[in-house]
């Protein structure tokens, strides 16, 4: 971001509890996270002048006790937080805000607090997808996968490899919702949800929160931080269609391609420079698309790359090191947790720490191959 001041993440925290949290509402989960994140940088509610959230943002900003001069309620699904960070960077660089909090709280499992989501049968996705017995994201987001597997002559195990590799991280993480070590055979033996997807290739639905605090590098230098600041070096965002059936190509997601390319270009880095990767994995096909669409591997090569151990602990490209949405937690809009893990890795505070992480790429998706957001974070 040549010529513009650097913006850094100075606070990053998850709610005390993630997984099954039936005694807290969505606002509670989000506010708990915000207070924890602020405590990491010696700031208080009164310092916050920008609020971004997928919660009803004006209500939540008031709930927090802030008097913001900048709001962002972008709600494009699970990658919304990547977009919030991108927008917050621009706001801080242009003087529209000094201290921005990005907040997530979702009672996806326990449904405590306002969680209304009514399928709209007049929307394009309603008329032309939900009409056909789509029962949940598992029976829609997943559909393009058979075209992908067919194109590259791959079988069901290509998906199972993703979960098995991520279990090598999750099995070392006490906060993981699914913390067992899993083999490809274990995954393939699990219950079929929507063929070719087994239950262990679909995310669980959980409760949890997370928050980030962003400010300028200049301001950060004066703060008493509990961990090193993490620089937002690049970001990208885009959208494609309202659902999986509207993809331009069923075997590759333009959203991943374009948003990651923009984030890398802004950061003046290439994939060869990336030490650590988070790819939003509500379902096991997404890391396959992500690895190929960002450009870490060639077309059709992602499952072999994962099977080689490259993304496991000790591998050349550690990926989804919290266990991912598939195994760590998935509240519904998981992107916040992917960012949290990248920040922890860059600070050297992760539960399963990768040595010497200086750059991390986080690739998010929102809706079902609908929106996309990417961030490149680096040590400051």
């Amino acid at each position: 971001m040549s010529g513009l001041p650097d913006v850094v993440i100075v606070g990053a925290a998850e709610s005390e509890n993630v997984g099954v949290v039936p005694d807290q509402s969505q606002f509670q989960l989000a506010a708990d996270s915000v207070l924890r994140a602020l405590a990491q940088c010696g700031l208080g509610i009164g310092d916050v002048d920008g609020v971004a959230s997928t919660l009803q943002v004006a209500q939540f900003a008031h709930h927090l006790g802030t008097r913001p001069r900048w709001l962002d309620g972008t709600g494009v699904g699970g990658c919304s937080y990547m977009l919030h960070v991108r927008h917050a960077v621009a706001a801080i660089q242009t003087g529209q805000a000094d201290v921005v909090v990005v907040a997530h709280g979702e009672s996806g499992r326990s449904r405590v607090g306002p969680t209304l989501r009514v399928p709209d049968m007049a929307s394009p996705g309603g008329q032309f997808e939900l009409t056909y017995g789509v029962a949940g994201t598992f029976s829609s987001f997943t559909i393009p996968t058979t075209a992908y597997l067919h194109k590259y002559g791959l079988g069901e195990e290509a998906l199972a490899e993703v979960t098995a590799a991520q279990s090598a991280w999750a099995s070392q993480n006490p906060r993981a919702f699914r913390g067992k070590s899993l083999t490809v055979d274990d995954v393939l033996a699990s219950r079929i949800i929507a063929w070719p997807f087994h239950v262990l290739e679909c995310c669980p639905v959980t409760d949890g929160g997370g928050a980030l605090v962003l400010t300028s590098a200049e301001r950060a230098a004066d703060l008493d931080l509990t961990g090193p600041p993490v620089r937002v070096a690049g970001s990208g965002e885009t959208c494609e269609g309202p659902g999986a059936s509207f993809m331009e190509d069923l075997t590759t997601f333009r959203g991943f391609r374009d948003s990651s390319a923009e984030a890398l270009r802004q950061a003046d880095l290439t994939v060869a420079d990336i030490d650590h990767l988070m790819v939003y994995d509500a379902y096991a096909h997404l890391p396959l698309y992500g690895l190929e669409d960002i450009g870490f591997v060639g077309r059709g090569e992602a499952s072999a790359f994962i099977a080689s151990g490259a993304t496991r602990p000790g591998g050349s490209l550690p990926m989804n090191t919290n266990g991912g949405g598939l195994l760590y937690t998935h509240t519904g809009q998981y992107g916040m947790f992917a960012i949290q893990e990248a920040v922890r890795q860059l600070r050297g505070e992760a539960v399963v720490q990768v040595p010497d992480v200086r750059t991390s790429l986080i690739q998010g998706v929102g809706g079902m191959f609908s929106a996309a957001g990417a961030l490149v974070l680096t040590t400051a």
């Binding site: 049968m121 009409t131 056909y132 559909i143 393009p144 075209a147 079929i192 063929w195 509207f246």
Partner: protein, 136 residues
């Protein structure tokens, strides 16, 4: 038993559903570019032209992708596992559909399989385009 989902047409999609009720599949076309697009809008999403019309589709296409859903929508629960698929039409657009008249077995659902449109009566004047394998 829950009724199967009923799409709610909007002014720019009403023609599509009205023709489907008569067991015809029509697609929106940009008159400026001479190309069919999906889904229906009152302008062309490729060039922005407001000169759009409708063309009747052949009703033929091929299976592009699918899942066999074992975790049904409540209204489909009595059907057992069912196929939710994407069909690539001869005219270019790709539609979501169920594949009817076939066992919900991946071995019976080769990618590229020729399919043809049929219409499922959901009552009260609603018929939904669906696809089935073309008889050999």
């Amino acid at each position: 038993m829950t009724a199967k989902p009923r799409p709610v047409p909007t002014p720019d999609t009403q023609f599509y559903w009205d023709r489907a009720a008569e067991e015809e599949l029509w697609l929106p076309r940009c008159d400026a570019e001479g190309t069919v697009f999906w889904y229906p809008r009152d302008f062309c999403p490729s060039c922005g032209s407001r000169s759009v019309s409708w063309v009747r589709a052949s009703g033929r296409g091929t299976l592009a992708a699918f899942v066999v859903n074992h975790t049904p929508h409540p209204s489909y629960a009595a059907d057992g596992p069912y196929v939710i698929a994407l069909v690539q039409l001869e005219e270019g657009p790709r539609l979501m559909t169920n594949i009817l008249g076939v066992e919900p077995d991946p071995a019976q659902l080769p990618i590229g399989m020729p399919v043809e449109v049929v219409f499922e009566d959901r009552g009260e004047g609603l018929k939904v385009p669906q696809f089935r394998p073309v008889a050999a």
